[in-house]
């Protein structure tokens, strides 16, 4: 695995250093204790004690622990050697999240964004072997920590995070088999949305401000040229402009589309499974004036885009599709 070159540290809060004697790794339990200790050292928030010129108790304590864990080299102290891993941990995770949430970083500015990521990763450290899962709980964290989004409205930041995460989900989601006439699909057959079709009920027009990210690309369908640039940190407040969006993957590309609220309501019926008849009945109750031709148009379009399947969606990685 490659390593990134070092970067500057972030501000930090103190975290207690274990005082107990060191295990010797002469048993699996001893190995476990050493690994826990090492992981706690490298995942601690980066702080002033990491800087070579820093002179404080915290640094002395860390240096003392490092010298019990590691041998010095001819050119580096044990603390310097430990710090290589410490820096790499934060650099790698920050880079991964910056690539997955480019719009959020631009909106908040790098300093505030990195502070947010640090707080997020301390509460929700990585638990998946796949780095692309790293941002899965960022929308949840933003709901839990509304103050982190200041000076922007909480809902603006949350909408942007949900939109960017939904792009990741749509990009990597599987495609289930399409309904087939020869399998006897009827208007009573339960249909589900494809895992790569995600619905978002947004208060802000965040889809306009999402720059291209690392892997998924999400061009807007019918997007006018010259969209407004993403507002930078500290600029004038952004007015709400509610919209309902569907993200979907065609081939290797993720697209988004703004839906009328009736279509959004109808399509959402299929998120947990519904027949065409049930979905139409529910939508008809809610929107009694909706002409039958509209249903036909939408169903034809969605069928041609392959948005339905007869296979239920698994629960994993669906957080972004949760409408709020």
């Amino acid at each position: 695995m490659k390593h990134k070159k070092p970067i500057a540290s972030l501000p930090s809060t103190a975290r207690p250093i274990p005082k107990a004697g060191l295990a010797k790794a002469d048993s699996v339990e001893g190995l476990r204790e050493l690994q826990r200790l090492f992981l706690s050292c490298i995942t601690r928030p980066p702080g002033p004690e990491d800087r070579a010129q820093a002179k404080d108790d915290r640094r002395d304590e860390m240096a003392s622990l490092a010298s019990r864990l590691f041998r010095p080299s001819t050119k580096q102290s044990p603390f310097d050697r430990l710090e290589i891993y410490h820096r790499q941990y934060w650099l790698r995770l920050r880079e991964a999240l910056s690539e997955d949430f480019p719009g959020l970083e631009t909106l908040l500015g790098s300093e505030r964004f990195h502070g947010l990521l640090q707080a997020y990763l301390l509460r929700y450290p990585p638990t998946s072997p796949m780095l692309r899962d790293l941002g899965s709980r960022l929308p949840r964290f933003l709901r839990e920590e509304p103050d982190r989004t200041a000076p922007y409205p909480r809902r603006l930041v949350l909408d942007l995070a949900r939109f960017e995460w939904a792009k990741i989900v749509a990009f990597y989601a599987p495609e289930h088999p399409l309904p087939r006439k020869e399998e006897g699909t009827t208007p009573e057959t339960s249909l589900f949305l494809q895992p790569h079709v995600l619905l978002l009920d947004l208060r802000y027009p965040v889809e306009r401000w999402t720059p291209e990210s690392r892997s998924p690309s999400a061009p807007a369908e019918g997007a006018p040229a010259g969209l407004p640039p993403l507002p930078k940190s500290g600029q004038a407040p952004i007015p709400p402009d509610p919209r309902r969006i569907v993200l979907h993957r065609q081939g290797q590309t993720v697209y988004h589309k703004i839906l009328p609220r009736e279509a959004f309501f109808l399509l959402r019926s299929f998120a947990k499974g519904s027949s065409l008849l049930q979905a139409c009945a529910r939508t008809g109750e809610k929107f009694p004036d909706l002409p039958p031709d509209r249903y036909r148009e939408w169903f034809q379009e969605w069928a041609s885009l392959g948005w339905w399947t007869t296979q239920p969606r698994s629960r994993s990685r669906s957080a972004a599709s949760k409408s709020s």
């Binding site: 190995l31 490298i42 864990l69 580096q76 891993y85 638990t127 072997p129």
Partner: protein, 282 residues
Amino acid sequence: MPGNRFNAFSDYGIGVGLRVPHYDHILSKKPVVDWFELLAEHFLADGGRQREVLDRVLEEYRVVVHGVGLYFGSAGRLDRSHLRKLKTLVRRTGSPWLSDHLCWGSADGRHSHDLLPMPFTMAAARHTAAKIRQAADFLEVPVSVENISSYAEWTASTMTEWEFLSEVAERADCGILLDVNNIYIVSQNHGFDPRTYLDQIPHDRVAQIHIGGHSRFATHILDTHDQPVADPVWKLYGYAVGKLGTTPTLLEWDDRIPPFEEVHREAQKANRFLALHGSAHP
């Protein structure tokens, strides 16, 4: 050296890592490449571009799956869900062997997303070897472990890295993915003769070799895979193939990635050393 049981007696030559910036070139130009190495965790998704690219690559090329997430050396158990996904990928790709690293990277379900150095103790070797055996039994392909770059040496270690690698490989009855660049880096960072490392490991277990670029700083070397292979690493590679004979070799280039032709040209330099040193092997 003909293939051995750890690389399924295959005849793989010089390969390169399959990387995103090269997808279009590979799919449109179909360059002649002996084989590609896949970073497993990039191809475990059920859909998306990665899967589509992989399907098209498989139509034209041989591939080998290389993981970064099994963490054989972590004190915890193997992640069965991750193993199941790897097995599906191995079967889908027809990978003749699978490799991952001789390291740890998680504790109590928390992942570092890094390859962290092991304390070289007998207990750690026994535990790691048992997990490798479990993985190989489950995956039903030969497994090889790769020596990593490291920037720190545990005070708890009671043996050298090459003794630890040998102990683990013998106990697990697994192959070795010998990263010559990593041997060079740790020899510089920790102060030993890299040829001693190469002399002391069980040569008949080496399934594959990695080469790659690194970055030298005033106090240490980092394994960055962002530049051509350094001359001392080529020299060490020549020494290695002199010991091992012709061995499947892969160039890793993962950052500041140049055009495909440049990466492939760099990989092909290995042929010079294979012709010069590999043929001398009995």
